[in-house]
């Protein structure tokens, strides 16, 4: 007899409780249940910067979500994409909002990815400073210009050029580079001991009463 036959066919795994890691981030305001478009935009842009840092970034994000037991919030590539499409700048903006739970999951994944990339992030920021001190163009540094180039390419292919702000960035390469470098700085702060909490709380700056 097949031993597995003893398993009753209508067996279902016990319902999964809220992933514990979500508890590590506080609810910033009891009145807030969903996120503002601005928060959604910041989350997506930070993830975009991570994608520009590592090839196959979105796959690593999914793997990280699984490792952290966040699969109940981000279960596959399409879900991740759908969550990120709450960024109003996106071409495929869905006009939906992130729940706090979903936003927390994205912030946690972003911070964990950033922590994996700490060395690279520090190198790029130091390189930027050195290049600037020497008065050289930023393209002089190979790894840095590669990051900027990828970021611009991602931005161009995914953001909606009909949005005024996006159109501005697309028309001014240096502004888009500044945005990419700015996000790199934010990622650095995510790598710290309390980086995840800091990043999470900072999302709500100017959003609460």
């Amino acid at each position: 007899m097949n031993p597995s036959a003893s398993l009753s066919p209508d067996y279902s795994p016990p319902s999964r409780p809220q992933p514990l890691i979500l508890e590590s981030l506080p609810d910033p305001d009891s009145a807030l249940q969903t996120c503002s478009p601005r928060i959604q935009q910041r989350l997506d842009l930070v993830l975009l910067a991570i994608e520009a840092l590592e090839l196959g970034g979105s796959e690593y994000m999914l793997a990280t979500a699984r490792e952290l037991d966040l699969a109940s919030v981000i279960d596959n590539r399409v879900t991740l994409w759908r969550l990120r499409c709450t960024n109003p700048w996106r071409r495929s903006y869905t006009r939906s909002t992130l729940s706090l739970r979903q936003a927390k999951a994205l912030a946690i994944v972003a911070s964990h990815r950033a922590r994996q990339l700490t060395v690279l992030i520090r190198q790029l920021l130091l390189a930027k400073q050195q290049v600037e001190e020497k008065g050289l163009p930023i393209e002089q540094h190979f790894r840095l210009s590669e990051y900027l180039e990828r970021f611009r390419a991602h931005f161009r292919s995914r953001m909606n050029a009909r949005r005024a702000k996006v159109a501005f960035y697309l028309a001014h390469e240096s502004a888009l580079n500044d945005l990419a470098l700015d996000l790199l700085g934010q990622l650095l702060f995510c790598t710290g001991t309390a980086g995840m909490q800091r990043f999470w709380i900072s999302l709500f700056d100017g959003e609460v009463a």
Binding site: P28, S58, S92, Q129, G185, F189, T193, G206
Partner: protein
Amino acid sequence: MTIKRQYSLPNCRLLLEGIVDEEVVVEGDHARPLMSVVVHAECSFTGSNQTLIGGPAFLSNLTRAVSVYAQEFLSGVQHPLPLPAEGERVQLVRGDRRDLHHLRYYPKAADGEVGAPIQVDLNTVQLFDLVEAVDQFFADTRTLPGLTLQLAPTSRRYRQADVPAVQRSAPLALGVSGLALAAIALFLVPVPGRIEEPERKYGDTASETAEETEATDTPETEASPSGPLLNAEELAAALADAQQILDPTELDYIQRYTRRELDGSWENRDELTQDLTYRLSVGRDGAILAYEPVEGTPAGADEQTPLPDLVFQPTQDALPEAIAEYKVVFTANGILQINPWAGYQGTPTFGPRLEAPDQLAELGEQLQATLASRWEENPDLLSDELTYRVGVTEAGAIADYVAQNAAAFELEAETPLPELLDPAAAGIGEETVVPQQPLGQFRVSFYKDGRVEVTPF
């Protein structure tokens, strides 16, 4: 007993000297002693000879200022930080560049007066190391457990509008000056006197307008071609000289485009009493350049087809470079058939394709959402399933579609596809009807019960 604690990072070192609370029971042999009071704190940076030295007030002011500034850096929103009344103030100020930060310290001089401030300029990485040293200190439960990380978002009152003040005040200034100008202008307008009754003229108004429209219409139609029109012989010669389009992909796209054009403009289908067959010459841009009746089709019968309306007369200045030839049949039962005159030499492809799996997944999802929102349960649908191949641009526009089963072909108009079709998004229709941008190809099935399925083709 005095002990030292040090939080050391590549660019920053935070050193604390404090007193161990002997009262607290130390659990286990290896538990670190608890520092309950700090007496001396030092903060130094590599590459800088300045060391900030102070007492407990310095430490608490420093950690608070650093923690708040880190949040400001992340969000770009200012946090109000009331300056502490007691001495040893610490301040962090943003420099004129995004990655320059000034750490200012106002140490207590020996006589109790506030001394000259010490300023240390930090770059972003150095700032981060300072934040990290502070965070490690906060997280250390064996050093001043009373001081821990306190984070709270700042109120929306402190959020700056995204638009700078000058720009924000522009509409107001414009409004005020506009009002002033309007007031001056209106002041100059004379007060109207008695209004005279208009004289009435009947009769000739209608004819005048008719003449006018004719007069304006004619020059326009004459002016639009950019050179003299070709007469029949010249056209025949030009078409004979033109290169034949043989590339199967191109032929296929032009055929699809032409079918759509003809099908869309063919009315009065039930007036046909016999099949009408034509040989069609079509340019690369999809324009119908010439047609001739073949296979016993009477010469004047083209009036029953949309061909006379659609034919595009090339001019001397814009001779067709290449043409594709098709056999078109308007059948008596209202069906349009179109095929390459000389058949296909090879298998048509879909033109450049998007292959990246990530991108395809994104596009597919998007396509599904778009179509599902426009497709409803349709119990009267004559078929259970309508399947199409749909080509989607990188931006998600539907640039091309082809029916994959007979019902899909017949019932195309029932689906949202014709309405959503945007060939121009892929560069189709300006110079050529072959897509100029790579397309993601999907198999799309519409079901009677309202489902839409999208899978990669």
